[in-house]
């Protein structure tokens, strides 16, 4: 369904008052079930009340017509912005009670770059360096905490081993985790009761062990860090896990993008992470673009940036469903085309980025 750029409507500049409801209209609105031409979104008290093409204006409704595409904000997985020293506690190997939420600093100036790139939800994860690094949290850039305990972060890569501290080997690590699962306490006890698992690994062999561990204990969540997860598609499908793909750089192995396409064909939930902190949030759309060029379907790529990522993040973010918070982004064109720019960003109905006049 190619998107026609409709003739530009006359721009109405109006100050967005928060009294009563607000209706935003744009050339194309990327709703939960596909793009809507000249769509309108009715927002009341920061929540989406209705979405559709021919919405009439409610009594206290206040219409703003916009140029460009309106969509849900993007969701970035796996970032440590604002955590400063809190991203990893190196004293112990298993810290299932540690919540990354405590380290979240709303005032950090790094969040501006997220809003500028159209990201409205971020999953804070610990740096790999301990067997169980703690519990992840989902936050809105410079905004509210959406989910205090989203996943238990378990690291299956050799980054978890420290010389001189048990465990020093894969067999030792797996046996230590199995022991904790026999008589689960603290974070382990919450697994399956609202707390997902975030399996961090680097090589595909580590990924296989992580997925087998999750399958053995019937855990839900996602595998992150394995760049060629496409080779584990059967085990992932069988275990019902999602996959968070690392950022795909210029000189990256083409098989990484190809494996995203393989996962997409098998409808395995996908999302993109930023990995190292010095990655710009633009890397999300660039990685999605590379996967599309390697064969990932367009709507699968868009889902991986928004609603699919929200599901994996185990939090109500990344989709324009009715009742959800109105986290919206106005693009100058098709959001999956890098030539289009972020014009405005709303979080919970209030505009937090972009100049008012069009």
């Amino acid at each position: 369904m190619n998107i026609l750029i409709a003739p530009i409507l006359s721009a109405l500049c109006a100050v967005s008052g928060d009294t009563g409801s607000l209706v935003l209209q744009a050339e194309v609105v990327h709703g939960p079930d596909g793009p809507i031409e000249d769509g309108r979104i009715l927002i009341r008290d920061g929540k989406i009340e209705a979405i559709g093409a021919g919405l009439e204006l409610p009594g206290d409704g206040h219409l703003i017509e916009l140029e460009g595409h309106l969509s849900a904000g993007l969701v970035a997985m796996g970032d440590q912005t604002g955590l400063k020293g809190e991203a990893l506690d190196s004293t112990r190997q298993i810290m299932d009670g540690a919540d990354l939420a405590f380290g979240y600093d709303k005032t950090d100036d790094g969040w501006g770059a997220f809003l500028e790139a159209g990201v409205t939800a971020v999953l804070l994860t610990p740096k790999p360096g301990a067997l169980v690094g703690g519990r992840t949290a989902v936050v809105k850039p410079a905004g509210a905490m959406v989910q205090r305990r989203a996943h238990l972060h378990v690291c299956f890569s050799n980054a978890a081993f420290k010389s001189g501290v048990a465990p020093t080997s894969y067999p030792g690590a797996i046996s230590m985790l199995e022991q904790r699962m026999e008589t689960p306490t603290g974070g382990f006890a919450l697994l399956g009761k609202g707390l997902g698992v975030l399996l961090a690994a680097k090589t595909r062999a580590e990924g296989l062990r992580a997925v087998a561990f999750a399958k053995r204990h019937g855990l839900t969540g996602a595998l992150t860090g394995v760049s060629r997860a496409g080779d584990l598609v059967d085990e992932l499908h069988d275990a019902g896990l999602g996959v968070i793909l690392p950022p795909i750089g210029a000189a990256a192995d083409p098989r990484v993008a190809a494996s995203a396409a393989i996962l997409g064909k098998k409808d395995i939930p996908l999302a993109f992470s930023l990995g190292a902190t010095n990655r710009s949030p633009h890397a999300l759309r660039i990685s999605a673009l590379r996967c599309m060029k390697a064969g990932l379907a367009r709507d699968a790529a868009w889902k991986a940036l928004t609603s699919g990522a929200g599901e994996i993040a185990n939090a109500p973010v990344g989709s324009l469903a009715v009742g959800r918070a109105a986290d919206l982004v106005l693009w100058s064109g098709d959001p999956l085309d890098l030539t289009s720019q972020v014009e405005r960003v709303w979080i919970e109905g209030k505009q937090v980025h972009g100049d008012d006049d069009q």
């Binding site: 000189a251 673009l289 030539t339 289009s340």
Partner: protein, 462 residues
């Protein structure tokens, strides 16, 4: 096997070590090569032919043969036997003026280079075949490569075609296309100004070396004519001198005195200035034969560089990076100095020099009519250039100027303006066949034609 004999000042253009050339390389310049064997002609029919940014032909055709574009028009007829390809859009191949693609890993980050070190020597297409293929598939048909790293003088950069040559060697269009340099890789501002002044000192020394050489040629010519005259005179009265000498010898023998030759004095021959390869190269920079591409980011060293080089009117300076060059836009326009911008998204931990890096720099400079080019920042990420161009367009650069930056402007800055960058008769047949607007990232490239041959075909096969 084709041979490019472009009318250019810099010696014969031989494909790097193509075997056939090895055998008769020396004879190239001697006689006009016989016209190449009748290769199959390629006849392209397209809805839009972008001759150059801002000039398009609707429902036009392009005829390609012998590595060159023979004809472009709206009413051409496919000659018999030509291979016909239909596509939506045709435009010139993209050029990356600032890359280290194809260099062997050790040479990409060097410290011990000087102006004589040649990037051509470090090219290793065998090791980087995969990256070259990816760049070609992304539409980059040619690129300027300089030795990498933060060496203050990087040496002779080359202009290389991305498509691999038959024998696996690389098709080098210009072995010495420009001089690469870096200013400002240290933290301290005075250090950075020192680097800029050192570059100016080198150019000055090069200029003085050229002046000294020109003076010597005059002096030696004058001296030679004088000597020739005095020799003619000496020859004329040789007999007289011989007679007087014989007389003196006799007298000496009579007085039993030892005969002493007359002493002969002439004004000394002027000394030839000592040959200095480095100064010779800097002289070529000073007189504008070779453009000087300087990587500099912060305002302090940029302004020091521009002030220092004000006096050299024939110097052709190109700024690479230029993160904080916006305030100096006026000087850049006056002296027509192009800026190669690296529009890549940088996260929070940015390199020191690029603290103020902003994706909208390209757009801002273009608004002030500065000649803007887009480069992959001296990395092997050349394949990402179209992606970076789209990001720049997404941050204020007009699409037409972005396409110019990738084709005509880049060719012009690297002295290839007469053969690359446009879809025009007589130009080299580096063409992209696409299914949409060249700059938009949702467009895909169907075929890439390099030097008249289909180097990449999305349907596979040649």
């Amino acid at each position: 096997m084709h041979i490019d004999t472009q009318p250019s000042r810099r010696g014969t253009l031989t494909a790097l070590l193509a075997p056939a050339l090895l055998a008769w390389a020396p004879t190239i310049s001697a006689q006009e090569p016989a016209d190449p064997p009748a290769e199959t002609q390629i006849f392209i029919k397209a809805e839009r032919v972008i001759v150059q940014p801002g000039k398009e032909l609707k429902d036009a055709q392009v005829l390609v043969q012998g590595g060159k574009v023979l004809a472009v028009g709206t009413d051409l007829v496919a000659p018999e036997g030509a291979r016909v390809i239909e596509t939506k859009v045709v435009c010139a191949g993209f050029i990356d003026p600032w890359s280290t693609l194809g260099l062997d890993s050790a040479s990409a980050s060097l410290k011990d280079t000087n102006i004589l070190t040649r990037a051509v020597d470090a090219l290793d297409p065998f090791g980087s075949a995969v990256h070259l293929e990816a760049a070609l598939r992304a539409g980059i048909t040619g690129y300027g490569v300089a030795l990498g790293g933060k060496a203050s003088v990087k040496g002779l950069g080359a202009f290389v075609c991305t498509a691999n040559h038959a024998d696996g060697g690389l098709d080098v269009l210009l072995k010495d296309s420009f001089i690469g340099a870096t200013v400002g890789s240290s933290g301290d501002a005075f250090d950075r100004i020192g680097y800029a002044e050192r570059l100016v000192k080198y150019i000055k020394a090069g200029e003085e070396y050229r002046v000294e050489q020109v003076e010597y040629t005059h002096e030696i010519a004058k001296w030679r004519t004088e000597i020739a005259e005095s020799e003619a005179k000496l020859e004329k009265d040789f007999k007289k001198a011989k007679k007087s000498r014989d007389k003196e010898i006799e007298e000496a023998e009579e007085d039993d005195k030892e005969f002493k030759e007359e002493s002969y004095k002439e004004d000394r021959q002027p000394r030839k200035p000592r040959f200095d390869a480095e100064k010779e190269a800097w002289a070529r920079v000073a007189e504008g034969t070779l453009p000087l591409v300087v990587e500099a980011h912060r305002y302090v060293e940029l302004s020091a560089l521009l002030d220092g080089t004000k006096a050299f009117d024939r110097l052709r300076l190109v700024i690479a990076g230029g993160t904080e060059v916006l305030p100096l836009a006026a000087t850049l326009v006056k002296r027509s100095i192009p800026v190669i911008v690296w529009p890549t998204p940088l996260g929070s931990k940015r390199p020191a020099g690029m603290r103020a890096h902003d994706l909208s720099l390209a757009g801002a400079l273009a608004e002030k009519d500065v000649r803007v080019l887009l480069g992959s920042g001296g990395t092997s990420g050349t394949r990402d250039l179209p992606l970076l161009a789209a990001l720049a367009v997404g941050h204020g650069l007009e699409p037409e100027k972005a396409l110019a930056a990738l084709t005509t402007e880049a060719a012009r800055a690297l002295d290839m303006g007469n053969i690359l960058g446009k879809v025009r008769a007589g130009y080299r047949a580096d063409l992209l066949l696409l299914d949409g607007d060249p700059i938009s990232t949702t467009t895909s490239i169907r075929q890439v034609i390099s030097a008249g041959k289909i180097a990449f075909n999305v349907e596979g096969g040649q």
